[in-house]
Symmetry: C2
Subunit: 424 residues, 2 copies
Amino acid sequence: MKLEMICTGEEVLSGQIVDTNAAWFANVMMEHGIEVQRRVTVGDRVEDLVAVFQERSQHADIILVNGGLGPTSDDLSAEAMAKAKGEPLVENKQWREHLEQWFSQNNRVMSANNLKQAWLPQSAIMVDNPVGTACGFRVKLNRAWLFFTPGVPFELKHMVREQFLPFVQQEFGINAHVALNKILTFGHGESLLASKLEPLTIPAGITLGYRSSMPHIEIKLFARGDAAIAQLPAITEQVKSVLGAAVVAENKPTLAEEIHSKLYRSGKTLATAESCTGGLITSQLVAFPGSSSYLHHGLVTYSNESKVKVLGVQPQTLDDFGAVSIPVVEEMAKGARELLDSAFALATSGIAGPDGGTEEKPVGTVAIALATRNAVYSQMVKISGRSRELVRSLSAAVAYDMLRRELNDEAVIVDYSSIKRYPK
Amino acid sequence: MKLEMICTGEEVLSGQIVDTNAAWFANVMMEHGIEVQRRVTVGDRVEDLVAVFQERSQHADIILVNGGLGPTSDDLSAEAMAKAKGEPLVENKQWREHLEQWFSQNNRVMSANNLKQAWLPQSAIMVDNPVGTACGFRVKLNRAWLFFTPGVPFELKHMVREQFLPFVQQEFGINAHVALNKILTFGHGESLLASKLEPLTIPAGITLGYRSSMPHIEIKLFARGDAAIAQLPAITEQVKSVLGAAVVAENKPTLAEEIHSKLYRSGKTLATAESCTGGLITSQLVAFPGSSSYLHHGLVTYSNESKVKVLGVQPQTLDDFGAVSIPVVEEMAKGARELLDSAFALATSGIAGPDGGTEEKPVGTVAIALATRNAVYSQMVKISGRSRELVRSLSAAVAYDMLRRELNDEAVIVDYSSIKRYPK
């Protein structure tokens, strides 16, 4: 079965919006064992749409068409499909009634434009959209089924999961049982991870892939078929065991989410004192609902005065060692933790760049500390040749990893092959 | 002249990475007055690449091909182009020498794989890449010039600016003088902005467009030709005058950047006290180099205890009015400002959701205050039907806008048609 995607819309074609729908769709299909083989992006001209429908329907078996189902004059997917097929648009009574009901229930006046959304190519089979005013539809042309979906991401996702996937599985007899495990790593490059995993025998039906999403590298184990799925847990454990401390989470996209779920479940509280990371650690955690249950506060003490006044860092320590130093970051962590007797505090102080570096402490030098009720752990890392943004996100990841290891009762500080550490 | 783009690579096709190169390229071309008419995305199979080169070269005049120039076995663009053209790959001596030099200067051993990057289709014209090991090249097939560029974003951008654009302008005699002004608005919907601008007479050669990038709507004035460019300043002023307080910046992508440049230039200092925005205001500012010159600290006082202990909010105020209230957010702003006698302090306290709302204070209720050395300004807004992420980013934008207006000596609080305000 050959699957393709057609993305429509001037905004997508002209780069005014980045096409995240396309990436999401391909990813979801991949996780169901189905590959998208080509993607064509066109604007809002009827003749372009007609041409691409006619052309691609000769090559693909099924084509997901995204966008152009809205009520405005530049939403032309149904009209173009009717032209490509050489048939008229016909009003779908069922969807018209649905629209009338929807607008009256929501106390809104339906404009004539909205009625347009009920007009489909004559041979189209309507596809329900319980979360929007644009119904989907599918039409057979040449060898292909063209399956039309709304451009609104939320509506697209709903329709793909509830309607498109079942249709594809039924129509093409695809019932590949597939499963995916994702292993999140931190602190080591892809070539090193790959060389460690090379000696492993990966069972037939399982493929191993890498995805770099800074500051992490994710390892994907994709199993196709029941026999392979049965072997997935064992090979996942083998991969984790070979990679050891490089593995920081399983089936979570970031370390921040891993820390959030651990703290949320544990009931243990956290304070942060950030300098160079500038609120990144705090705001990444606050992004998760429920973070207020464990996060006492995040103190971005950007100036030296603030480190003294808010966190109680000793002016003498700042004078003796400078703001970017182990003693200062330890006092920052202790100070932030003690204010509300939080279970933990994370602190960072560093030079994010592009300016502010010295010979002794170049850009990318970052001191990081974790304070608990019993101890303070700290290290000074050197992240060279990276942008301001990456220095900040790598520093945040090191801080999270220290806390993660503490929560697991493991040694707090480990070596990362891709991040240098200064001797204390 | 018909311009198309071909994006190659399994990672892009399969959705493992979102194709930001495509959006960037289309956007840049648009700003030079040239439209991308179609975009095709294919994977790393030679036969797919050959087919798409042969097919699209019959329709387009120029095609930017992105990706597949690297040293590994799945980088197949040159090989596929040679096949499509029916000619052999030939080693380009100039690039081979360049590679040898580059590796020896960088004290690195060149692998046999890297040499592959010097092999181009026989009829190809090499295109220099001063910032990477993959040279570009261009080949004429059917009616089209196919112009091959590296997938690394930094290298692509360099090559498009330095080589592709001049080539297109020379080859196709396109020398349209174009200019673009971007006006950033906040707090009003696109339909309202459009209805206000409708009566304006837009001079010939100038087009007016809207781009929604939450929490902002950007208005683009695009002028093509010298006559239109000459009229751009006047029409820009008219648009700004019609929109009044809705305009928050010109040729800046966000309010955060506008605030950063204003504070950076003014030398006035800032403190923030964030609750529901959770470090968003602070981290957006810290993202800009130089922010340490004005940002004293950002105190994310997520818990009530922290509001009392760090900011000096009165426990009685919290008891009487609740954390999400005008009196509390005013005390937060005052407290944050006074700690280091900053010129300004911004404070937020609200219910970002999805849980935590009450009948009196539903999700989306956010109190926002600005403290100066002489006064405290505050308002309570109601952002309903929005995600946690949007509640936070809209609240941050309201806070920035209050400070922006204060810095401009304007009334700090204005009405936003798209954001409701509670009576005090």
